[in-house]
Symmetry: C2
């Protein structure tokens, strides 16, 4: 792509009127974006010395600073290294109506990590998949992503670096490394170009800015941004996804097809499994102490463990989580209860609140209800349109795949009880003063939709039981059996994983 870019020069006087007009227009557009509740991400990548910083300053100069955030992307710090590599992008997502402007992005992150040997070629390719997946997921959620690459020629870069080094005030910004890179222009060119091509998708196309001349670049950026924002507002009004103009042919992108493992329907589960008190006590002791040891090894090997709990109301999730948690060193896990999203959560992609809740590697993150609410309660209760919720099967598989690639071991428990058992437990809760807070009208209402929920659960288990993150259906009519099954599942798998790594 880069070789097609023509550099040219624009006189400041010729551009002045148009620039002022667009800057003024951008103020109104920012208000329109706020009114239309569109979250906007603008990434500014490009060559060293291409002028990213000053172009950002010009872009936002007239915008209301309450509507945007500017974040520089640098080499990941120690905290960031303990999370999946995309974590720092997910956690920075803007809310509806807000602009996030990134100085450098996941693009530069990927190219540079590869160039400097932090990742190998395979990982480089996988990261490109991650990037495309990320951008597609955001676009599907209504995010507007404007990707700008500031391109300068080799001569221009040489001139700029020398000028910086010659100036008393700016020379501290230039290192030997910059001079060395000048000589590697051709090599870097190829890497940039290849990566640009591989991430030039129909849903998040690149816009390459000829940046040898600063005024030309500024005009081009302003035009691209104002145009994109207008298109997004139009699309939003029409209720369709926004399509940005393609400067270059985009790649054929296909999401990964996940291989699924065979699963059973809930109706086919044998619900009669149980344990005697004696067996329960013996096995509880055995698996709890085994898990404590395994946690220690995971901590030392920095293996992240994610445990996701879903199940029927009154299924016994709480007690099950308790037996798991109380095996563990309390400094090494956290339980995340998931309720209705807060306003700041509802304003972002639904996976945001799970990304932001991930503990460091070596730690256990235990979710009490999860991202699977997206395909159960949300469509059934009408919080999310069915077609949108259906996209989550893929999105969730992608999410869990990325966690797996980070090194995470993922457990997903569906705590299953039958309808009679639920009735017994609801009644018991109503009749026990200390348990009355646990039963509400909503529980009874949900119960009326049992069949609808059962269908949704069957579908969820079928479509998201990947090889790397399969569901475990836990027979829960007998709480003791259920607790041991969950504990044993975690122990057996961690035993394997810790032996391998």
């Amino acid at each position: 792509m880069l070789e097609m870019i023509k550099q040219h020069k624009t006189k400041k006087s010729e551009a002045a009127d148009e620039l002022t007009a667009m800057q003024t227009e951008l103020i109104d557009l920012a208000n329109a974006v706020k009114a239309a509740k569109i979250p906007v991400i603008i990434t500014i990548d490009g060559w060293a010395s291409a002028g990213k910083g000053s172009q950002i300053a010009k872009l936002i100069k007239y915008m209301d600073p309450r509507f945007y955030k500017v974040k520089p992307i640098r080499i990941p710090n120690e905290q960031e290294k303990r999370k999946p590599w995309m974590h720092r992008y997910w956690t920075k997502l803007p809310g509806k109506g807000e602009f996030l402007i990134l100085d450098g992005s996941w693009f530069a992150d990927t190219v540079k990590s590869y160039r400097y040997g932090a990742i190998d070629k395979d990982e480089y390719k996988r990261r490109i998949d991650d990037v495309n997946t990320f951008e597609r997921q955001l676009r599907d959620d209504g995010y507007l992503i404007i990707k700008l690459f500031l391109h300068i020629t080799q001569d221009e870069q040489k001139r700029r670096v020398k000028a910086l080094a010659a100036d008393e005030i700016t020379k501290w910004r230039v290192s030997q490394h910059d001079f060395d890179n000048l000589k590697r222009y051709d090599k870097i060119f190829k890497k940039y170009d290849k990566t640009l091509t591989m991430t030039n998708t129909e849903f998040a196309p690149w816009h390459i800015v000829p940046a040898n001349d600063r005024v030309t670049a500024q005009l081009d950026i302003m035009r691209t941004v104002t145009n994109a924002v207008k298109l997004a507002c139009d699309a939003k009004e029409k209720g369709i996804l926004c399509k940005l103009p393609e400067q270059f042919p985009t790649i054929k992108y296909k999401p990964e097809k996940f291989k699924l493992v065979k699963t059973k329907k809930l109706a086919d589960i044998d619900m009669n499994k149980q344990l005697t008190d004696e067996e329960y006590r013996r096995l509880l002791k055995k698996y709890q102490s085994r898990l404590f040891e395994l946690q220690n090894i995971c901590y030392q090997k920095k293996i992240p463990v994610i445990v996701a709990y879903e199940g029927w109301d009154a299924g016994g999730k709480g007690g099950n989580i308790k037996r798991l948690a109380s095996s563990l060193d309390p400094r090494g896990y956290e339980v995340k209860p998931i309720a209705a999203p807060e306003p700041s959560e509802a304003a972002r992609h639904y996976l945001w609140r799970f990304w932001t809740r991930l503990e460091n590697d070596g730690h256990f993150t235990i979710f009490d209800r999860t991202w699977y609410g997206r395909v159960m309660v949300e469509p059934i209760e009408g919080f999310t349109p069915k077609e949108r919720a259906d996209m989550a099967y893929l999105e969730i598989n992608e999410f869990e795949k990325q966690l797996t690639r980070w090194g995470a071991v993922i457990f997903k428990f569906w705590i299953n009880i039958d309808k009679d058992e639920q009735y017994r437990r609801f009644k018991e809760r109503e009749n026990t003063p200390s348990k009355q807070w646990k039963i509400t009208d909503e529980d009874w209402r949900n119960r009326e939709k049992w069949d609808e929920y059962e269908k949704a659960v069957d579908r969820m288990i079928k479509l998201t039981s990947t090889e790397f993150a399969p569901w475990t259906v836990v027979e829960g009519n007998d709480k003791k059996y259920a607790r041991i099954k969950a504990l044993k599942t975690v122990c057996d798998r961690l035993e394997e994983v810790t032996a391998e790594r």
Copy 2:
């Protein structure tokens, strides 16, 4: 205090029934705490090898893991060092009905920082003030703070360290440092004892646990915690602050008396100040470029800058912030718009959402509305009882003092307009389509309470204009004058500060 502690031994069999009873009771108490919406903090400090980790595990063994978090406190990491030292405690605060259990705390942090020379004696004393202030602020907000110190004798410590070192499995946990510290027991004893005494307050008294014998310690901890929680629930029901039993005489604590600078009432401000367009353009250019340079120096010297904006509706805060922000390198500041608190914010101390929003040192944090809502909108609109809001004058001065000690330069702008000018602007907003979103019925309602607000503002300015964080009233009838005044105020002060440091 420590020399008064008698170590004794309890047979496991003798304690078993009582322990089981208390563990069961704690389950119910945790539910009661949740129902009563009391936030609980339990800190576990003590000697090395005193058994903090295993006592925490026993304490929470039967609790519902969704109701508590356990956080270990270690040497501050790179991220934490860029914030005020109490920042990592503030940001971890539990919400109403939740338990936070800290393995190590601000107590150990203070003692160790002093012992290992990270802070000098003066700073050590100031930190003790910070600790007492922090605990008093939390208690006043309804937090229950249970502070436990696990005490073991020199012989017992020696025995434990040797036993750990002799065991193949645990010997990695013992370093030369631990052996060296064994010899320094007396010295450390004095430091612990002194710091315990100085932080043994009526609102957050210490409980020293004789921990030579693990069963005795466990019993003592369980009794202390269950008793404290019961007292807190009782107090909450009666609507009074909880008072915990004092094991030792507490110190006489007096909050700092802040020296205030002389201020004017709003009615005495000359509101006729203005600038011509020409003066405005010249001065805007001058101060914006000066501020850009000053920001650079602040960044290099790691000076945090906090800018707090308050003012009448339609006072011109937005435009004023914009002129300030657009002077700055966008990667070095963030604007924080403050609206009504989200549920997770409302569940915590009102200062929590400001502590969590602080940018790193070297950066500007610009607040569009601030913690001063506590003494204006909250009591006037009835969100906070007047007596509780009145405590905020002290709390806010303390907060700003701590920011100042971190190194922050604090600017507080009250953008002032008169009632006629507000009317003109409201009407203009109503009559300009692109500005209509900026005017709501609420603005008109607030306007009816002008006199009440003016009294509150006068009082706020009078009581929180400390020498280190004085208010600047900005005459805002002329927006141009107001913008230059704010810019000039920031520049002049930063000029001084950067020259000194």
